[in-house]
């Protein structure tokens, strides 16, 4: 093999390998790995000039036009509270208490972040859609089948994630998102 053949082979492998590794990392999820609370993950630098190149690329792919934390925080869960991947053929109960912000909603996505087609035409549960008890506790069901009460359809997709949006979050959550008391995701069985 001639010298230039060896250089050409290594350069070609470097180009393809470097780009492929970058794509693999960018597709690895919305979180930049800086903060997690239970199954929920978020980043502290979404949408800001402080974001590093990897975080900026991840947000562009999975959460384009995300707002900085002062305005809104985005917590994404790909697993239930026991660490199992969220599966659209399973039933879940999502329950929590008062979230320290002005307004919240939880939206179900598949793939890079697309709403799932479902017969109920329902894709999110906003704070105004759940009943709270005297202690501020609330819950709703995530299921492929219609349920009584607040219900978020999965569309029976193989895998999904949940994104909790918290608008105008309290200063404590912005500063220490890993200490935020976020909803529990309990799996109740699968079809």
């Amino acid at each position: 093999m001639k010298t230039w053949h060896r250089f050409a082979a290594c350069i070609a492998l470097g180009l393809v390998g470097g780009a492929a590794f970058a794509v693999h990392q960018v597709r690895g999820g919305l979180s930049d790995g800086l903060a997690s609370s239970g199954p929920w993950e978020t980043g502290k630098s979404f949408g800001t000039v402080d974001a590093n190149a990897l975080t900026r690329a991840k947000v562009a792919l999975s959460g384009l036009l995300a707002l900085p934390a002062k305005e809104a925080m985005y917590f994404t869960a790909k697993n239930d509270s026991d660490g199992r991947a969220l599966d659209g053929r399973c039933n879940y109960v999502v329950h929590g208490g008062t979230l320290d912000g002005r307004w919240w909603s939880i939206t179900l996505y598949e793939g890079e972040g697309w709403l799932v087609k479902n017969a109920a035409n329902r894709w999110s549960i906003p704070a105004s859609a759940v009943a709270t008890d005297a202690q501020g506790r609330w819950s709703f069901t995530v299921s492929p089948n219609a349920q009584s009460g607040s219900w978020l359809p999965t569309g029976s997709v193989d895998a999904f994630d949940l994104t909790l949006r918290l608008y105008h979050p309290a200063a404590d959550i912005i500063k220490n998102p890993e200490k935020a008391q976020l909803p529990i995701i309990d799996r109740k069985g699968c079809a």
């Binding site: 060896r6 190149a53 384009l64 995300a66 307004w103 697309w114 035409n121 999110s124 906003p126």
Partner: protein, 173 residues
Amino acid sequence: MMRRWLFPIVVGGLVAWGAYQATLLATPYALMQAAMKKIGDRGPENQFAFSPMTTAANQTIVRPSPDLAYAACAFNVSKGPVLVDVQPVPDHYWSVSIFDARTDVAAVRSDRDTKGAPARLALIKQGQTAPAGYEPVRVGYDRGLVLIRILVAPASTFPTIDAIRRKSTCKQV
């Protein structure tokens, strides 16, 4: 044998590092360009396009919120400042955010910031000045996106909110 491969492998490693960095740096620009093209297809540059409520059937931008009414303007300040006037929606969360071509947020103003008053922003680049009465927002790139978000709750309030938001404007001076 190994000595003949050593230098090519080192060069290949450096090329891999460069390709990795270049891919990361190019991704936001490419995806933002695609988003601006999609929004541009719905209306001219420097003008708001008012979207219906997002459903699984009409989503164009990744990870949309079905609880928010969106209006987007693909801006271009190359020929002069772009003025953004946002009509407030009483008793509803709303915000206007300016994203540059690299996806960074140049500014966000919400009803909390304006205390319910209209937001009046002038998008300018270096060498341009904001007209009187407008808050200057300096952008690092000629092009980008203005995005208005309005919380629609309950859903039945959308027609009222839609009529108000359509009074918002995005226009070049």
